[in-house]
Amino acid sequence: MSNTFESSGRREYLYNKKKNKIIVRVCQVAVLVLVIAIWEIGARLGFIDSFIMSQPTRVLRTISNFQNNNLLMHIGITFLETIIGFSLGAVMGIFIAMVLWWSDFLSKVADPYLVVLNALPKIALGPVIIIWVGAGMQAVIVMALAISLVVTIMEMLNGFKNTDTELIKMAKTFGAGKLQTFVKIVFPFNLATLFNCLKINIGLSLVGVIAGEFLVSRAGLGYLIVYGGQVFQMDLVMTSVIILAALAALLYRLIVLFEYVVMKAVSNK
């Protein structure tokens, strides 16, 4: 394809496409600015009760005051718990899915249990987890793990089982054993499934961490939210929620970046 000459129709098409993209972006930012502005102005004029709703400038003040309220420590703890719970969930989930793919017998036996465990709200296990592993970071991590693990197993197993049978047959004709078939065909075939799964899991892990922190109530953003609610410090609650949103976005971005790096490395082989 040559780019040296563009017809006027082509130029117009590209221009319109670009224009649409910019308009969408501007609107996205405008919505955010508008909400913050209404919130702030409303609080100042008195038709929004800043005691109940907090207000943007107060959130900013809480954030800038991070040295007194240990905000960084709480963010760090939530981040760490999420990363650990998420990684454990992913690694264990993929491993268990692999074992179940390997053995048709095990997979058939495990099937009803997986279905039930998947439907069970894992948060109901919270108190049990705290009693079993102790009220601390470990309980929060297990909570995050419990929420993401079953989904990972089911998603990945489903993907593994739906690998193009012709590709598997092709590998077999070269004499590939089960391990080689998995490593060379089944796993790479499911990389897209894996990353979709991870993108969902990072959100689920955060749900597990926040729920865990609600119950354990020692540290982290979840703890701050519960604590702020109890002492009626809405500034703290709102700040924590906003930081949590930013953290969720950041974690999601990290997965996208990881996906990009892995896909690039794999496809250069």
């Binding site: 012709e166 077999k172 004709t173 004499g175 075939f189 082989k269």
Partner: protein
């Protein structure tokens, strides 16, 4: 002439949920080195099963199969199998794809690599090495799949309806292409097809199978006497004798709708 493939009283019966199925009954034939044999038969006559047996993907119920003098007892590097689709891996480059067999067989040594690179250069795929399968045409992809199979230096190639996923024009060209490569590399091959014309155009010899249970009902050599040298599959189709072979097989297949 050395025998590359030999069937001795081979039968296959398998168990299905709705009963016992006799797929192949008492098959005897042999293929000499360098021969291209087309196996033609109606669908369900056990053609693909026959290839699975040769490739060692499943065992025969009775009799034995020898490939290059050794009895088949599982998958080995002695046979190379080409399936209906090219089955190239999208996430690998063409180069990564053609060395897949070498990787699996654990023979990624400098000698094999040199051989594969030679094939890639010889058959015009060298400049596409770093490209991905989706960037290549159907014919090029099929050629890459053939090189992947040739890379492990099999004594015998098995082609299972290897062109049926391609559109008609591409199919004619690819058949020509594959035929030339097989002849140039002096390969022995068993070509399974339901397409009578394709079977005649590519083979030195034709074996016709009857309906289930699969038996050999016809086994003859094809010769195109009008030329001094071997005709390509595409040119063969224009020879008057092509029609005769076609009718002979057609009558034998006794197609009923």
């Amino acid at each position: 002439m050395r025998e590359i493939l030999c069937f001795e009283n081979v039968s296959l019966t398998y168990q299905a949920d709705n009963g016992e199925v006799e797929a192949l009954r008492d098959i005897n034939f042999s293929v000499a080195e360098g021969e291209l044999v087309s196996i033609i038969g109606p669908s369900g006559c056990g053609k693909t099963t026959l290839l699975s047996l040769i490739a060692g993907l499943e065992p025969a119920t009775e009799g034995r199969i020898l490939v290059a003098g050794e009895e088949v007892s599982g998958v080995s590097g002695r046979t190379g199998y080409m399936l209906q689709k090219d089955n190239l891996l999208d996430w690998r480059t063409i180069y990564g794809n053609v060395i897949l067999g070498l990787e699996i067989h654990g023979m990624k040594n400098s000698e094999s690599i040199r051989y594969v690179e030679g094939l890639l250069k010889m058959y015009g795929l060298w400049e596409f090495c770093r490209k991905h399968p989706s960037q290549l045409s159907g014919g090029m992809r099929q050629r890459a799949a053939l090189i992947r199979t040739l890379a492990v230096k099999p004594e015998l190639l098995l082609l299972d309806e290897a062109f049926s996923a391609l559109d008609y024009q591409t199919r004619l060209v690819v058949a020509d292409d594959v035929y030339n490569i097989l002849k140039r590399e002096k390969k022995t091959a068993v070509i399974v097809t339901h397409d009578i014309s394709e079977g005649i155009s590519m083979a030195d010899r034709i074996i016709v199978f009857s309906k289930r249970p699969g038996k050999i009902s016809l086994d003859f050599r094809v010769e195109f006497p009008s030329s001094g040298e071997a005709l390509s599959p595409l040119k063969r189709r224009n020879e008057p004798i092509f029609r005769e072979y076609f009718n002979k097989i057609w009558k034998e297949l006794d197609v009923n709708v």
